[in-house]
Each structure stands twice: as C-alpha cells, then as structure tokens.
Amino acid sequence: MATQTSTIPAGGLAGARDSAEKNYLNESKGILSWLTTLDHKRIGVMYLICILGAFFLGGMSAVLLRTEHLSGTPNLMEADAYNKLFTLHGAVMIFLFIIPGIPAALGNFVLPIMLGAKDVAFPRLNLCSWYLWVIGAVCALLSLLLGGFDTGWTFYTPYSTSSPFQGVIPIVTGAFILGFSSIFTGLNFIVTIHKLRAPGMGWFKMPLFLWGLYSTALIQVLATPVLGITLLLLIVERALGVGIFDPALGGDPVLFQHFFWFYSHPAVYIMIVPAMGVISELISVFSRKHIFSYQFIAYSSIAIAAFGFIVWGHHMFTSGQSELMNTIFSLLTFSVAIPSAIKVFNWTATMYKGSIVFKTPQLYALSFLFLFGIGGLTGLFLATLSTDIHLHDTYFVVAHFHYVMFGGTVIAFLGALHYWWPKMFGKMYNENWGRVACLLIFIGFNMTFFTQFAMGSQGMPRRYFNYTEGYTTYHVVSTIGSYIMAVGFFVIAGYLYYSLIRGRKAPDNPWGGASLEWQTSSPPPVENFKKDPIVGDPYDFSNLKYDPAIGGYVRVDAQGVAS
C-alpha cells in the first residue's frame, strides 16, 4: 500500500474526487483483509457493527420484558425466563454495548485522526481487543445455550454461586474477557494520547472528546482489573467452592459487593464520560461557537474519573455496609455532582449568542441536555441517605440509570454516530428522517422511563416478574413508550442503511467542525491524512465557511490554503 499512496500526488485530489479514490474502506477487499486489519478505522467499524448487533439483542430483550409487563400476571413467559431475560438485557447492554460503545467503536475511529496520528500506539493490541470482544460475546451466547443465567448483571453472591442455571460460569468468563478487551483499548488510548499527538497538538489543543476518552481510559485501566479478579474469584467460587464470598463456606457476600462496585461504579463513568465528550463537540460545532470554558470541561472529565473511584459504596446503602461507610460514601458521592453540573452549565452557556443549527446530531445533543439533566438530578435522591433507603432497588433506580445510560450515553452515541457517519462512510443520510427518528426516540424514552420514576417512588421493586395491582397503569404507559422507541430505532436503521447504498456523497466537512478529522477526506485514506493537518484551536470556527456547491464547509483564510 505504500506504493499505492505514493503514486497519488499529495493534495492533488482536493476538488476532483471520483469513485476510484482510495480510502480505508476500499483500499483492500475481502473479509480477511478486515479480520486481519491493523487500521484503527477498520477496527472501529468492526466494533461498530458488533456493538450494534449487541444493542439489537439487548434492545429486543428489553421490548420483550416491557411486553411481559403489560399486565401483572404471566402473559409471555414464565418467571425463570423473565429473570434470565432481564439479566441478559443488563449484561449485554453493559458489557457488550455501552462500555465499548463510544470509546471502542467511535473513539477508535476518530481518536488518532483527531490527534493527527497515523494510528493508535499499538495497532495489534487494538485488533486483539476486538477479538477479545468477540470471544466475550461468544461466551455470552454459549451461556445462553447452556441454560442461561438469572443472576442479574451484578452477579451478587451467594445467589450467583447457587443459581440453578449453568450459564453463570460462561457469562462470567465472558465478562472477564470483555474486561480485558476494555483494558487494552484504554491502555492503547492513553499511550496514543501521550505519545502520538501531532506536532503542535498540545494537551489543551485536543478536542474535549479526547479528554473524555482519556478520562475513560484511565478508569478502564485502573478499575477493570478489579472486576477481573472479582469475576475470577466468582468463577472459582462457583466451580471449586473457594469460599471468599459465599457465606455458606464462611465467606462475606458484602465484601463481594465492595469488589464488584469498586469496578462497576467507575464503569458508570466509563459509560457516560465519553458521551459528555461527544456533547461538547456537538454543542459547539452546531452553535458555530467556541465551547464555553474549555479548561473547566476538560478538568471536570478528569475530576469525574477521579471521584468515580471513591463513591462506589452508594450502591450498598441498604446492603449491610456500616453506617460510617454509608455516611462517607454519601458525602463523597455528592462530589460527582459538581463536575457534572459544571459541564451542563458550560454546554448551555456555549449556546448563548451562538448560531444554532438543528441538524440531527444537534437534536441529539439537546435531547442529551434534557434527559441527562433529569438523570443527573434524580441522582441526588439516590445519593441522599435517607431517601435512598426508600428508593433503593426500586424502579426509581431503574429509571435513574436509564436516564443516564440511555438518555445520556445512548443518545450521545446516536448523536456521535450521525455526526461522524459521513466521515466514516463518506455518505450523507436523510436529515428529515433523522429528525423524525430523534423525536420518536425522545418521546418514547420519556414515556418509558419517566413513568418508572413515579412507579419506583411508589414502591415498585425492580427485577419483579409480577407486580401488584396498583402499578398497572404505569407499566402499560411504560411499555407503549418502549414500542415508540423501538420504531424510532428501526427508522434509524432504515435510513442509515439507505444512506450506505444510495446516500449523497459526503463532503470532507459537512458540519463545519474544526477538529482535525474534518480536514481529511470522507472517508479518510488509510494513513488518515494525505497532507499534514493544520493543528489549531478545535473550537475556532471563524475560518470555516459554508460552500453550497459541495454541501459542506471549506477553509477560507490564506493560512489554511498555504499549508
């Protein structure tokens, strides 16, 4: 390929692009060339395909779960099937979709380009991460074949060591392997950001998305190994009877919860911090205005990552954790509210006096502000000791984390997908359908989960197959909402697929973004840049002008042309 690239005169294709142009997608052909690729962009695309598959599986199980709840009596499945299904939904969504979602799929694609690098620091390790993801997914499927698992994604002992279903060990093994996939991705990103920034790309010249990914990677590297050892202990506990967590053998089940949440709370920030990074990009680009207070947003990402390590005990307020630790963890938990609030205020301030364009990604960003606002604020109820006692393990918690994980991360993921879709595949999608789908998802989401706040605070416990009379209306409204959301997702799948085969050719810079990925072609060449990109302020849009002829933005000032 070196010879191929050298035959194309650098920069000679700026105006006249034709289908013969080489890019990372058509540079080599055949499934094998993808499966053995070391190109971060291809690995990102492979991740994207895989996690969308996982998202489909998790989403379908959610729809089935909601359907079951149309009435308080069994109507679709039996209790065991329900329990396995909600466990599957949780485990798939968390381990296979949300955690790798933004970092591994989209981050992999754009991180090196945003840095002006040719690839991540360790391309082989990157491919290895993807294969580990696949192996983890295979373990999850294997566990379904072996009878499934009904422990909940939290695998609390002693239930998980005594559960009658044989799928527990395979899924725990799968989660263990997925943990290493996540660790290697994080490790790769940290080294890449430290060592492979293009000349002139200082830490504070990086787009805020990269600060988000960097913070995420720190958590991945520091917290995930603890999940590894926890799951390893769980496997030997169940297979061999090593009684460290099982009270029947003299172990301590509350200690397991400490172990589990030491990872799994920071993991919540693995899920949300990259989403926050995405929103920083979208709000700024589509308001055509410099992000408000870059440094506060950057530091608040790091702060969230750091505080994330000292708040895990708030999952254990009713578990038998000592009162002292309940108090300490409650106090520490509130610390996370501050950097989150700073971010939200700064995003809002960014829009002030902007020139706001309502493209699909921006609609997702606005939805994010709305939904994450609710998700974040309801966190206050759960961080407060006295109210958490009542709300713990009810649908209030379910609604809260769906507002953060779905209303936050998935919405940001969709925003990011729409934002970088032209860059990844070189095709534009239909804006109008994009807006319709966003609206459907927004309405469906609020119907599904806002009702769950009320139902939870009224006392409906989570993970319930049946429910008592009083909660029927809530459940029915919630289920209808989930159907509306499902329709929204099918619309997205439809027009994105259509864009791949029939979509308008995407310009290099359809949104007028100022970060480096918009300086290369859509889709980018294998080596990311044909000529060295100009590193500048990633939120300075003053020298980008809309050119109706190509349907995108071009640089207008002399310096840009000169280099």
């Binding site: 430290h194 520091l222 009684g243 029947a248 030491f262 002292l324 630790m325």
Partner: protein, 119 residues
C-alpha cells in the same frame, strides 16, 4: 545485526538507560539481606509490630526492584506516575474496604459456615 545497528546509529541516540552490573549485583545482595532479615524478624516477638516490620522490609525490597531492576529511577517520570497511581488505587480500595468490614463485624454470626463439610 551490525547492519541494523549501523542503520540506527545515524540517529545517534541510545534509547533507555543501561544499568551497570555493580548496581544490579548490589541490588540483588541487598534483596537477599533483607529477605534474611525479614525471616529472622519473625522469631522475635514484637506483637503487631511484626506485621508492620515485615511490610516495611517488603516495601524497601519492592522499591529496590522497581528502581534498579525495573529502571524506574532512570525512566520517564510518567511511568513512575502510572505506577504510583496504581498503588494509590490499591490503597484506596484496601482502606475503604477494611474500614467498612471492621465496622460491620458485630453483626456477623461468628464462625457461620453451614456449607462446610461436617468434621
């Protein structure tokens, strides 16, 4: 081999720090001495100090290994920072978990282990 070296010599820089053999041997000797001390110390009853003494010696040994065998003393500071941060996370985990378990001991049923084989 020499050709590879030659092609590189144009850069003129040696990456990494070479630790001299006397330092390696001295480190090894110190580690052996500390191992002897730590074993010997267990025969003196110092109460709870025994544990702390053993941990202090182990930490000195670990520091020797990290600084000289692992070159951290001569390495880029970022690598040391990574290592220190990982140890801080470890400490955080240990301290908070121990603090909690120490406080909830009184609600535990002593010796509860009904699943153990009868003996």
């Amino acid at each position: 081999m020499s050709s590879a070296h030659g092609s590189h010599s144009g850069h003129g820089e040696q990456v990494g720090h070479i630790v001299g053999w006397p330092i390696l041997v001295a480190t090894w000797a110190a580690l052996m001495v500390f191992t002897y001390i730590t074993v010997a110390a267990t025969y003196i009853d110092l109460g709870s100090l025994n544990l702390w003494l053993a941990m202090v010696i182990a930490t000195i040994k670990a520091a020797l290994v990290v600084m000289y065998f692992m070159h951290l003393r001569y390495d880029r500071p970022i690598n040391a920072l990574v290592f220190v941060i990982s140890l801080s996370a470890l400490a955080l985990f240990l301290v908070l978990a121990m603090l909690d378990t120490a406080h909830y001991q009184q609600v535990l049923i002593p010796g509860y282990a009904p699943g153990m084989t009868p003996r």
